[in-house]
Each structure stands twice: as structure tokens, then as C-alpha cells.
Assembly symmetry: C2
């Protein structure tokens, strides 16, 4: 939402999607916002290659909620955004992926809006999009699934509950964000609701980054395979999708053994 | 999926997401693929501003399925991709939005793969992402919805059927692609499954383009308001989301009249 600046001294806040990690997956619009920023407040997971694209005079502040150093509360981030912008600074609030997908954006927008600061959202490539490209699949496919769900493994109450019954149906496809810790919970819920234990599951760690790893498994083996893989980076879990070459290999295997 | 070229004369195919229309919403990776392409096969809806970014010697071919001139069949497009790539050309197959989201990508990948042509997917900003940014909302929000669905209004059998029961629940959010013609069908199904007639619905026509229009309505008024608005461009329908300022206005209205 583009809001016109009321006068020259007013700063503004751009909520910018940094994409999944590969700097080449930034949009031109994100780069422009980034290059002209006076200050960049960024999440912990933003890669160094991306932070290097900020203008030389820009101040970079890591407001990530984990890691060493003082922990940032949401209210502190909100206050910082408003503080800089009302002093006339061009603020970029840089978030991994797309800020509108599990980006916890709304509280920050509300704070900025309440202070009368102009703002806009610059969309980014969300992790599901980069991860599915890396396995050569589509999130939707004619004749297979005419919808796709983006879920989070966690919500404010702990492991997030979902419409497991619908997900358990043949052909359903979901992209699960933050699904590692809740993998066993999700497995249990889906099997309880009748999902096929052989439903393909693919995990993509560090999608689009040089250290990207792909783990192809199924619903039955998910917790064990995930535990064995020791994935430490941000990971996207696809329910109902196998990597394209694995699909082909399986089809050929079935043909040979038919 | 990056596949190494076997030898120098082999061409390749990049399936590239052009984003929703604003050239600034292209990724750097898309632009690089585009600038170095020998031939670009593009959908009908790709804007002239984006096509101008192709290298000066690139051949542009509109393989859109509507409009004047001979109609392109999917098999013809598949054959053309393979034909150019096996002649050593760098082919870009440019699709609106993100090619993995309702992009009808798989048949083309299968054709290219069967011919042994290297290929990759370059993700793009999907229409839902740009459209939700334009109304200042998030696709997901803590405490409201821990999942979001991307649906299509049409599938191969006509109006697409979905898990209406789950969608009809309070707080559900969906981004409906190609939802204009099926608006009355969707309305009927959702109301039949108990959805609140006052559920906010927002339509964004030509998201991110200069001629973008936003229509804020609700489930009850959807067919009539949509008909009156005469939206001809590609339109994204949000179920369960109102534009941020309309949300605020409504909250203030309710406060004043409480």
C-alpha cells in the first residue's frame, strides 16, 4: 500500500521481502529500497550477501529474536521503526522470504500506521516458491491439486492445529513452514486422519542457498529421516510432493517391476 | 533444479516467473536469464515493459492461448521449447507470476526433460503476494490464521470444487486465482457450508500495475459488486481479507456506534 509522504521531513518504512537467501532472488524493487535506506532493521536469518547490498551509509541493525546479545522484544522493534521514521529516516524493515507469509508483519504495520508514518510492503519470494523450484515441481498441478496450503508448524499456542482431514486426502499438497519440531505431531495427526503412510514428503533446508539440502522421504519415515539428517538451517517441508527425479525414478521402477 | 549442460552446443530452458506485472517485481535472476536469452516464449499477459527487458537480439514469441492469430496448443509449445533448445538456443519460457502456482508448468517440463534438455525454474512473485501487499495485509497472521490456501476458481472439469467446509470457518483466508467467473458458484458453496455472509472479500485487478483496482466487498455482495465493477484484467480474489484501511474504518465505525 503506497502512501504519499505528507512533507519532505517525514521518513517512511518499507517492509521488504528479502527472499529465501539467494541475493539473485531479490526483486528490483527490494534492491532499490535497500540501496536508498538510511537504516535497515533486519531479521537474524538474512544472509551476509544480501546485507552487503545496502547503501554504504546505511546503518544495519540485527533485530533478530535469537542469538547472542540482548533479546529484542516486538515492542522494541515497533518503537525503533517509529522512532527512526519520525526523525525523517528512510527505514527498511527487511524480513526473510515474503513479509506477508508467516512474517509477523501486522503488529509492526499497526505501530507505524498509528504514528502516521507512510509505509509500503515490497513482496518477496517466499521459501515455498524457491524450495519447490529446487525440486523441479509445481505447488499446483492440473489433474492433481487445484489448491495448495501454506501452513505453519507452530502458532502462538504451540504446535499448530489444522484441517488434517482435508490434508489427509489423496493429492493434497501443503508447504509447511517451521515444520521440523512439529514433524512427529504432524505425522501423528495426518495418519490418525487416514493419510497414506507412503505420501511423499520432501524437506528443503536452506532453499536457494549454496548449502541447500533436499531430503526426500515419506510420511511413515519422516521423523526418523529428519532426525538422521540433522537439519539446522531454515527448512521447508512439502507434504504430498517428491522431487521430480525421484518421481521419475519411482515411476520407472514401478514400470520395470510391473 | 539446476542441471549441468552436457556439452556446449546443448541449449537449455529456463522457466521464469515474470511476476504480477510491475517490472520492478522481477527478480535479478529472472532479469539475467531474460537478458541472455536467444528466444523468449511468453504468455499473452506479460506486459510490454517486461518484454522490453529482453536482450536486443532475442526473438520474442507470444504463445498465449487467446487473442488474434493462430491458437497455440500445449503440444506446439512443448515442441517449440524442445526444438529451439536442442538447436543450442538459450530459451526462456516466461510465465506470469510464479510458474509453480497455477502456471501449467509440468507438461512443459516433462517434454523438455524427455528430450534431455537441461532446464531450471526461476521463481517469481505470485499474484497473491503482490495483491495482498497492495491492500496492506498479510496472507497469514498470528492469532487469526495459521494457514492460507491458494485456490483456482477453474480446473479441468470446470468450476473447481474445494474443501468448502474448512474455508467456511471463521478466520479462514484464501487467495483465489481465476475466481471471477466462478464467483457466484464459490459464494453459493461457501454460504451452503455455513460461511458468514459478512466475510470480507477483496478483489485486486491488475495487481502491481498502473491500472490496479481494488474492490472491497463481502460474501453476500460479491456477485453483484463484481458484476458492477466490470473487471477485465487478471484479478485475484481474497476470501477473508479486507483492505487494511477498510478494516480500520470499520473498527472505528463500530467504536463510534457501540
Amino acid at each position: 500500500m503506497q502512501v504519499t509522504q505528507s512533507h519532505d521531513v517525514t521518513g517512511h518504512v518499507d517492509f521488504v521481502g528479502a527472499g529465501p537467501g539467494d541475493p539473485e532472488l531479490l526483486t528490483l524493487k527490494a534492491i532499490k529500497a535497500f540501496e536508498s535506506a538510511d537504516i535497515v532493521l533486519h531479521d537474524r536469518l538474512i544472509s551476509a550477501e544480501i546485507l552487503q547490498l545496502a547503501g554504504k551509509t546505511a546503518v544495519l541493525v540485527d533485530v533478530g529474536k535469537a542469538g547472542f546479545g540482548p533479546s529484542w522484544k516486538q515492542a522494541d522493534i515497533d518503537a525503533l521503526l517509529v522512532d527512526y521514521a519520525t526523525k525523517g529516516q528512510r527505514v527498511v524493515r527487511l524480513k526473510s522470504g515474503d513479509p506477508t507469509v508467516f512474517g509477523r508483519l501486522d503488529e509492526e504495520i499497526e505501530a507505524v500506521e498509528a504514528a502516521g508514518v507512510p509505509w509500503q510492503i515490497v513482496p518477496g519470494i517466499t521459501a515455498a516458491s524457491a524450495a519447490v523450484a529446487s525440486i523441479g515441481q509445481s505447488l499446483t498441478q492440473r489433474g492433481r491439486n487445484s489448491s495448495v496450503r501454506f501452513l505453519t508448524g507452530h502458532d502462538m499456542k504451540g504446535f499448530a492445529d489444522h484441517d488434517w482431514n482435508a490434508l489427509a486426502r489423496p493429492g493434497a499438497v501443503a508447504a509447511i513452514y517451521m515444520g521440523k519440531k512439529s514433524a512427529r505431531f504432524i505425522q501423528g495427526r495426518l495418519i490418525m486422519h487416514g493419510a497414506d503412510r507412503a505420501t511423499p514428503i520432501t524437506l528443503v533446508e536452506n532453499a536457494s542457498r549454496p548449502d541447500q539440502r533436499i531430503l526426500a522421504t515419506d510420511l511413515d519415515r519422516l521423523p526418523n529421516d529428519l532426525s538422521a539428517a540433522e537439519m539446522d538451517g531454515p527448512t521447508l517441508t512439502f507434504f504430498g510432493l517428491a522431487p521430480r527425479h525421484a518421481v521419475q525414478a519411482l515411476t520407472e521402477f514401478k514400470k520395470e517391476h510391473a
